[in-house]
Amino acid sequence: MGAALAPPAREQVARLDRVWKERTGLLGWLTTTDHKRIGLMYFFTTLAFFAAGGTEALLMRTQLIGPNQKLLTPEAYDQLFTMHGITMIFLVVIPMTTGAFGNYLIPLMIGARDMAFPRMNAVSFWVFLGSGIFLYIALATGQAPNAGWFDYVPLASKQYDPGLNIDFYGYGLIFNGISSTAAAINIVVTIFKLRAPGMSLNRMPLFCFAFLAAAFSLIFALPSLTLACLFLELDRQLGFHFYDVAFGGDPLLWQNLFWIFGHPEVYIIILPAFGIATSIIPTFVHRRMVLFPLVALAELLVAFLGFGVWVHHMFAVGLATEVTIYFAAASMIIVIPSAIQIFSWITTILTGTPEFTTPLLWIIGFIVFFIAGGLSGITLAAIPFDQQVNASYYVVAHFHFVIFGGAVFPILGGMYYWFPKVTGRMYHERVGQLSFWLSFVGTWVTFFPMHIVGIDGMPRRIYTYVASTGWGALNALESIGAYVLASGLLLVIVNLAVSLFKGERVGADPWEGDTLEWSTSSPPPAYNYAVIPTVTSAYPMWDERDRRRDQERLEGGRGVLARGHETPASTVQDAELDEVLGMPPYSMWPPLFALVLFVGFVMLLLAHYLIAAGVAGALAAVLLAWHAREPHQAPLDSTGAAPPPLAREAAS
């Protein structure tokens, strides 16, 4: 905000600075409810888990580099592949997208000052951290879950897996699910209610459509997993018989409940990546997205249709042909909304004037992998073919193409793209491009040959193989690819870490981006926007008139909302301004809640049910105390005193 401000406006902005001043030190971070700080905490935590999951992968690839290797015992290998899957899905991709990118960027993109429920946002983070620690305690004590990330019974039943391994899984995923559900609710309400005046639903960034779809899916899908895990623990701990054939139960009940969650989960993973892609493409190809409304609709449709295809994970189970055919048809139909999006991206790139900077390269890489992975996915909808390659490395190839190439590549691209916004510095472009190429080549060399060994009969989840299978050569190649990929990823981190200190400083909008976050400073002030922006199109930053009007309002001291921690709320469809909300700035209840919840889950794990019931009571007490203070009752500035009313405000 370089323009000269009239004294009343200057006073207002000064008050904003004072009222929104962030607490420093560890306590500040512990009690924060600021979406940007929470987003950053999510970011660094998920990076740590990414390193853990990646190390697990490298260990496995080293074990498989040749036949009959003895680096890992079967038990160790089984724990590693299970933890790799659990880590990457529950502790990396979901928290990185919904928690890090979603939290940091959604309020900025919609012109708001925070999420709808800032304290619940903090809870999501601390509960996520707690669940991750819970799961890794399992690995650290040598009793990590060891029956795969989808943990089929009866292998995961007490009879065949008597230790604590599976209990860590069952309780851990319920624990983790609480975080994701809270985060999802927050995202939906924020997007519905806190958009800047004028940002009707059809003017919302595609990023927000994608996250909205992912959040809705999370809310509707997670309960199925929670239920599956509940039944599992009831069977294991209390001798119930949900999955026990001898007593009238059915192991397929687990598979159905799991995949009713599991399939929407993969769309939850990919949709935010679509959102990141649709943010980066318009910026670097200098044109609007082709058929924007169709793309938005496609994103929502993918999420919705994703609930109707889960049985395609069970084509080899022996179900009636009619049942499998229906789900194969549904699995094919869901290709259409994805294809719409892919061709919209390609056409947009083709008709624009693309600048192949690092972020766009990652998106191009994403498109290439997503198409290849999508094609292998289509082949899996051909039931007889699936009945050959199900549970072989062909499937491992497919899902790594779509998850790694499809979700992680946009995340890495997004890290580069928004790095200047978050840090105020630019990364090193050449090193960035190198990091992309290393990762791109590494990903191909690691995962493409897996299609071939799968076709060649190699099942998944085997800790070794005999030489006579002939799988050694391709496995060695895959392992080498994994090291190349790891080096590419390391280079991304090194580039960003070094640039954090040495990078060239940049202003608010180094890319000429189209969405609102590029209008505020880099990094944004604690209050995001000094004046609440108003919006009349889907590409707000490319609307000079609107941005000028915002500036005029700021200079006139109108729409600054500096009385307290304030953000406007609007109507859902047309974003008509409806009210002004007071936001809570700091709270110690979220980390306390997470801590108590952690203790509760440990008690359940150790079968101390009475203590666990007591912990539930403590949780109720925490919630009672938490809600006793209403959000607006925060001290209005850091001195704790209420500032005097401004004379001008009563008139305007």
């Binding site: 089984d78 089929y152 292998l155 290439v368 191909w444 009969g457 050569a473």
Partner: protein, 344 residues
């Protein structure tokens, strides 16, 4: 078209390399047979392999097309608008509708009809009346029990079938979920507690076909392999008749000593030798162990040295499997091994 130079080498340059690699490896590993799904030896798997090749072809075309468009985008990066059509939004929109909706719909309907309406008829469970022989295969952690209903024949890890015969395989499990997969002969079928799933085995080609468990079932999932031996009907019947007989009696003193040890040192508690007092049901039936080509579910070849090593220390060869170390002395091991090697 010269491959683009400079830093944006473009994905187009990767494809020829990976395709060549793919071809080479398929020939090295797959064409020879082994466990490859593209080396089919039955009508069912031939149809699936054909389906695969068509799908691969179509995928290559689509992929190449998309990468081609991206490559064009790179070349035309300074010119806005489409090649030929310029900046006409309707054409761009039409491309999205055409490539994103219309063409995929057509291709998918065709694929659905071919695979899920036609080929599936051959991969489904066979009609009970259409098969001439039934084999029960029961999955265990980490071996396969094989029975021939209607006869006394019981064996493990090695299935014999006559060629040119529709064989009904009934797949079930004694413990956790396993999956029976003999890629060159049939699609896989999961073995689920409480279910009796069925698949068809029918091949005109005599030979040895390798199968492997294809659903993670615990510590030694990696070493749960099997063979299906398809042979002329006469050879098959000879084998089956032999399998149905009780265990041959030991002929030498050493073998008799081995038999005594087998009964007294715990082996009989887990293993069955039909026609003797050994009735254990926990481990594989060993009545005609010497006829098998491999041991421990294809983990090791069935030779005297390997058999002795296995009996002495099964955990060293297949760690975590359910056969305990019985603490046998070297001499005892040799005697038991001689006894077992005589069980033809």
């Amino acid at each position: 078209m010269r491959p683009p130079r400079a830093r944006n080498g473009g994905p187009a340059r990767r494809r020829p390399a990976t395709a060549a690699l793919a071809l080479a490896t398929i020939c090295l590993g797959g064409c020879g047979g082994g466990q490859s799904i593209v080396a089919p030896r039955s009508h069912q798997t031939s149809l699936i392999a054909l389906l695969w090749w068509w799908m691969l072809g179509a995928s290559v075309v689509v992929f190449a097309g998309a990468v081609g468009l991206l490559t064009i985008a790179w070349f035309r990066r300074r010119t806005p608008g489409l090649p030929l059509f310029g900046r006409r939004e309707e054409v761009a929109g039409g491309m999205v509708i055409g490539f994103g909706i219309v063409i995929p719909l057509v291709v998918l309907v065709a694929l659905f009809a071919a695979s899920d309406l036609y080929v599936i008829r051959f991969s489904e469970a066979p009609a009970a009346s259409s098969t001439r022989l039934t084999v029960d295969i029961i999955g265990h952690q980490w071996w396969w029990e094989v029975r021939y209903p209607g006869t006394e024949a019981v064996t493990a890890n090695e299935v014999h079938i006559p060629i040119d015969t529709r064989v009904n395989v009934v797949a079930s499990t004694a413990d956790v979920i396993h999956s029976l997969w003999v890629p060159r002969l049939a699609r896989k079928i999961d073995m689920i507690p409480g279910r009796q799933n069925r698949i068809l085995l029918d091949t005109p080609d005599p030979g040895t076909y390798v199968g492997q468990c294809s659903e993670f079932c615990g510590l030694q999932h990696a070493h749960m392999r099997m063979t299906v031996i398809a042979e002329a009907p006469r050879a098959f019947h000879a084998w089956l008749t032999n399998m149905a007989r009780p265990a041959p009696a030991p002929t030498t003193a050493r073998e008799r000593e081995g038999e005594r040890l087998f009964m007294s040192r715990g082996c009989a508690g887990c293993h069955q030798l039909r026609g003797t007092e050994a009735h254990g049901e926990i481990g594989p039936d060993l009545t005609h162990l010497a006829t098998r080509k491999t041991l421990a579910a294809l983990t090791i070849p069935n030779t005297p040295a390997e058999l002795s090593a296995w009996v002495r220390d099964p955990q060293a060869i297949k760690p975590g499997n359910h056969m305990p170390d019985l603490g046998l002395s070297g001499v005892e091991v040799e005697k038991i091994a001689s006894f077992l090697e005589a069980l033809h």
